[in-house]
C-alpha cells in the first residue's frame, strides 16, 4: 500500500499551483465575483489549455483519460485558489456525459468540452443550478440517461458564494432527478469527490494564511502564535485539514459510495469549522470585506450542502454499514461483548 501521491501526481499538483498563483490571484477572483456571472473567459480558456476540462474524458473523445485521483489533485488546487466561474460545473457535466451519455452524446459534447470550447453544467433540480447562465450546454438526468435542457430560461439567484453563481430554471421544465438510475449516483460521487478535494484545498489555504498571520501579528509584545489558545486553534485546523485530505484521496481512489460519503460528511463539517477558526485567529481584520477569508468562509458553506450535506451522507453511511452488518460480524461482536472488556 502506498498512500501518497505518485510522482506524476505531485508534478501535476505543482504545475496546477504554479498556474493558479500566476493566473488566478485574489484580485482576479474578486473581479470575476463582482460580475453577474463570475465568469472570467480568459481564465477558463487558460485552464482548459492546461487540460483541466479534459482530465477525466477518455482519450477516444479527445480527453486525457486520467483517473479521479488526478482530478482531485487539480481540484484541490482550484479550491485553494477559490477559483471562480464555470470550470467546476463543466467538469461535473463531463462526468455526467462520460457516465450517462449515449455514444452519440459523447461524440457530440466531449470533444468541444475537452477543447475548452464548450462550457456545460448539470441541473439536478430546478433550483441551485451552477453557472447555468454561462453554460453552452445544460444537462439533466432522465430515466435512462441524460439530455440537454432546451428552450429554458435561467434566472440568477444571488447566493452566499459569489464566486460561482446559482440559477433557477423556469417551471415549464422539470429537472428533478431524484431516485434515478445508477449513473446518476456515480456521476454525483465523482463530482462530490472533486468538491471534497476543492474543500481540502480551501482548508489548506486558510491554514497557511492563518499560521503565517499568527507568526507576524504582535499583541502584548509578542506574536499571537505564541499564545496557546491561538496555537490550539491552528493545531485543530491542521488535524481537520489532514483528515479531510485522507478521506478525500481515499474516496478518489476507491470510488465506492461508502468512501465518498465518508469524505463528504467529514469535509462538509471540517471546512466550515476550519474557516471559523481561521477568522477567529485573524480578529477584526478577518471580518472585513477586504480580507479574502470570507471568500473561503462563504465557499465552505456553499460546498457543505452541495451534493448532500453531512447529515445526508451520514444517513447513507448508516444504510451501507448498519443495515448491512453481516451476521458473522454480529456474532463476533456479541462474543466480544460477552468476553471481558478492553481499552
Amino acid at each position: 500500500m502506498d498512500f501518497d501521491l505518485s510522482k506524476p501526481q505531485k508534478l501535476l499538483k505543482q504545475s496546477a499551483r504554479d498556474f493558479l498563483s500566476r493566473e488566478c490571484k485574489p484580485e482576479r477572483v474578486r473581479a470575476a465575483m463582482a460580475t453577474d456571472t463570475a465568469d472570467d473567459r480568459a481564465l477558463f480558456t487558460a485552464a482548459a489549455d492546461q487540460g483541466w476540462t479534459s482530465l477525466i474524458i477518455p482519450e477516444t473523445y479527445g480527453g486525457l483519460g486520467l483517473g479521479v485521483v488526478d482530478l482531485a489533485v487539480v481540484a484541490e488546487e482550484m479550491g485553494r485558489a477559490c477559483m471562480p466561474g464555470p470550470l467546476f460545473a463543466t467538469i461535473f457535466a463531463s462526468a455526467a456525459i462520460v457516465h450517462a451519455g449515449t455514444e452519440e452524446q459523447k461524440r457530440k459534447w466531449l470533444e468541444p468540452i475537452a477543447a475548452g470550447e464548450m462550457r456545460a453544467t448539470v441541473a439536478l433540480s430546478n433550483e441551485f443550478v451552477l453557472d447555468a447562465g454561462v453554460a453552452d450546454l445544460v444537462l439533466r438526468f432522465t430515466d435512462d440517461g441524460i439530455e440537454e435542457v432546451e428552450g429554458a430560461t435561467f434566472e440568477r439567484t444571488p447566493a452566499i458564494d459569489e464566486t460561482r453563481k446559482l440559477y433557477r430554471v423556469d417551471d415549464r421544465q422539470s429537472c428533478l432527478s431524484e431516485g434515478r438510475q445508477d449513473c446518476l449516483s456515480s456521476t454525483i460521487d465523482i463530482a462530490a469527490v472533486a468538491l471534497c478535494a476543492e474543500m481540502v484545498g480551501g482548508m489548506q489555504w486558510i491554514l497557511d494564511t492563518t499560521v503565517a498571520y499568527a507568526k507576524t501579528r504582535q499583541q502584548f509584545g509578542r506574536a499571537i502564535g505564541s499564545f496557546q489558545a491561538v496555537q490550539h486553534l491552528c493545531a485543530d485546523m491542521l488535524l481537520m485539514t489532514e483528515s479531510a485530505r485522507s478521506a478525500t484521496y481515499n474516496a478518489a481512489w476507491e470510488m465506492t459510495p461508502l468512501a465518498v460519503s465518508i469524505a463528504k460528511a467529514y469535509c462538509s463539517d471540517a471546512y466550515r469549522e476550519a474557516a471559523n477558526r481561521g477568522i477567529q485567529v485573524h480578529g477584526g481584520i478577518g471580518f472585513t470585506w477586504e480580507h479574502d477569508l470570507h471568500l473561503y468562509f462563504r465557499r465552505a458553506k456553499a460546498s457543505e450542502t452541495m451534493f448532500g450535506d453531512a447529515t445526508f451522507h451520514r444517513e447513507r453511511i448508516a444504510s451501507l454499514v448498519i443495515d448491512r452488518q453481516s451476521s458473522a460480524a454480529e456474532r463476533s461482536a456479541e462474543m466480544l461483548a460477552r468476553s471481558s472488556s478492553s481499552k
Partner: protein, 375 residues
C-alpha cells in the same frame, strides 16, 4: 498512490491468517497472555517489524498494520508485552549497545520479560524534563533513588525503561539519562494504583538506593532526553495501529447491540453511529498515510502527535455515542459484562496518557506548524 495491498502484503496476510486459525486461543491471565506471546514468537510472528537480525520478521510498517488487523479479525488476545514490543524494543534497536541488544531483544519478543515505562513522576508529568529521580555515580554504575508514578504494567514488569537525573547543575534537558532497570533488583518497590475505571492498570514505583551498572545506560549519559524523545515518538507512532484494532471491535459490538436492541432504525441513532463509523475509518486512513510517510522517511516525527490527538479524542466521542445509543443499559455492570461502562470510563484516560491533548497541540503548533514557542 495505490491503496491496494501489494502481492507481498497480501501473501503476508494470507499466511498470518492461516496461522492464526490454527493457533489462536483464549487468554486472560498474565500467564496465559505470556503464553500467547510465546506462541506468536515460536510461530515467527513476534516483533514483526523488527529487523531479522534481532529476531524480528523484518516486515514493513504496512505489514505491521495488516498484522494488527488480522489479530483483531481473529479475536486474538491483546499483546501483553506492548511496551517492550512497540516502545522499548525499537529504541534499544536504534540506540542500544550490542550487549543490550543480545540481552534484551529476544526476551521481549518471546514475552519472557515484560517491560514498563518509568517516565512520569509525581512532580514531572507534562514537564517530563523536570524529573527528579536521582542517579549518583558510584564506581562502574549508578545508585538510583526516587519515585515514578502512573507506571502501566509495573506490577507485572521485569524491566523498566527508566529516566533519571544524572547532572543536577546542567539545564534540565541536559542532565537526564535513560537506564534499563531491573524491576527485581533490591530496593525497587511497586505499589499498584487503582484507576478510575476500577482496575489496577498503573502503579507507583519506588527506587531506594537501587544499583544499576553503567552497561545498562541506553544511549549516552546526560543525553537521555534524546533517548526519551525517540521512545515517545515510537510510542505515538506505534500505539495508533494497536488502538485502532480495539476501537474497530468495540464499534462493531456497538452496532450489533444497537441492532439487537432495535435502536438502529432511529434516525438520530443512525446519525451518531455513522459519525462514529466515519471517524474510525478516517483514523485508519490517517494511520495508513502516516505509515506511508514513515516507511519513506524512516524516522517517526512530530506527525505522530496528530494521530495521538485524533484517536484519543475520537474514542471519547465514540464512547459518549455508545452511552447515548444504548441508554442506561450502558451504565450497568452486568450488561455486556460492563464493557460499555468500562470503555466509557477508560476512554477518559486517553487524552492524558502518552502526552495530554494540550501537549500534543503544543507540539503540532510549534514543531509541525512552526509557530513560536509558548513557554
Amino acid at each position: 498512490m495505490d491503496l491496494n495491498l501489494t502481492p507481498d502484503e497480501q501473501s503476508f496476510r494470507d499466511e498470518f491468517r492461516a496461522w492464526l486459525q490454527e493457533n489462536v486461543f483464549e487468554a486472560k491471565t498474565v500467564d496465559e497472555l505470556k503464553r500467547w506471546q510465546r506462541t506468536l514468537f515460536e510461530g515467527g510472528w513476534a516483533g514483526i517489524s523488527w529487523p531479522k537480525q534481532y529476531g524480528g520478521r523484518g516486515a514493513t510498517l504496512m505489514q505491521q498494520a495488516v498484522f494488527q488487523e488480522e489479530l483483531a479479525l481473529a479475536d486474538a488476545p491483546q499483546l501483553i508485552g506492548v511496551i517492550g514490543l512497540s516502545l522499548v524494543g525499537p529504541t534499544i534497536i536504534a540506540m542500544g549497545t550490542d550487549e543490550q541488544k543480545a540481552r534484551h531483544l529476544s526476551k521481549i519478543l518471546s514475552g519472557e520479560e515484560i517491560w514498563c515505562q518509568g517516565f512520569s513522576e509525581p512532580n514531572a508529568g507534562s514537564d517530563l524534563a523536570s524529573l527528579g529521580t536521582r542517579a549518583l555515580k558510584d564506581g562502574d554504575g549508578f545508585i538510583v533513588s526516587g519515585q515514578k508514578t502512573w507506571t502501566s504494567f509495573a506490577h507485572i514488569a521485569d524491566w523498566c525503561l527508566l529516566l533519571v537525573r544524572t547532572d543536577f547543575e546542567a539545564p534540565k534537558h541536559k542532565g537526564i539519562t535513560c537506564l534499563l532497570a531491573d524491576m527485581h533488583a533490591p530496593g525497587v518497590t511497586v505499589r499498584p494504583l487503582r484507576m478510575m475505571s476500577g482496575d489496577a492498570g498503573f502503579n507507583e514505583v519506588f527506587f531506594e538506593n537501587v544499583r544499576i551498572p553503567s552497561s545498562q545506560v541506553l544511549g549516552k549519559v546526560n543525553e537521555g532526553w534524546t533517548t526519551a524523545i525517540a521512545a515517545l515518538m515510537n510510542e505515538r507512532a506505534n500505539l495508533g495501529t494497536g488502538v485502532q484494532v480495539l476501537f474497530r471491535r468495540n464499534l462493531n459490538a456497538l452496532i450489533a447491540r444497537a441492532r439487537s436492541m432495535n435502536r438502529s432504525a432511529d434516525p438520530i441513532v443512525r446519525q451518531k453511529l455513522a459519525q462514529a463509523y466515519l471517524e474510525l475509518e478516517i483514523l485508519r486512513m490517517n494511520t495508513n498515510r502516516a505509515l506511508t510517510s514513515l516507511s519513506k522517511s524512516g524516522v517517526p516525527g512530530p506527525e505522530g502527535s496528530t494521530l495521538k490527538l485524533y484517536w484519543s479524542e475520537m474514542n471519547q466521542r465514540t464512547q459518549q455515542i455508545a452511552q447515548e445509543v444504548l441508554g442506561q443499559h450502558a451504565q450497568l455492570s452486568d450488561f455486556d459484562n460492563g464493557m460499555w461502562q468500562y470503555s466509557y470510563l477508560r476512554a477518559r484516560g486517553n487524552t492524558i496518557e502518552a502526552g495530554t491533548s494540550e501537549i500534543q497541540r503544543n507540539i503540532i503548533a510549534e514543531r509541525v506548524l512552526g509557530l513560536p514557542k509558548s513557554y
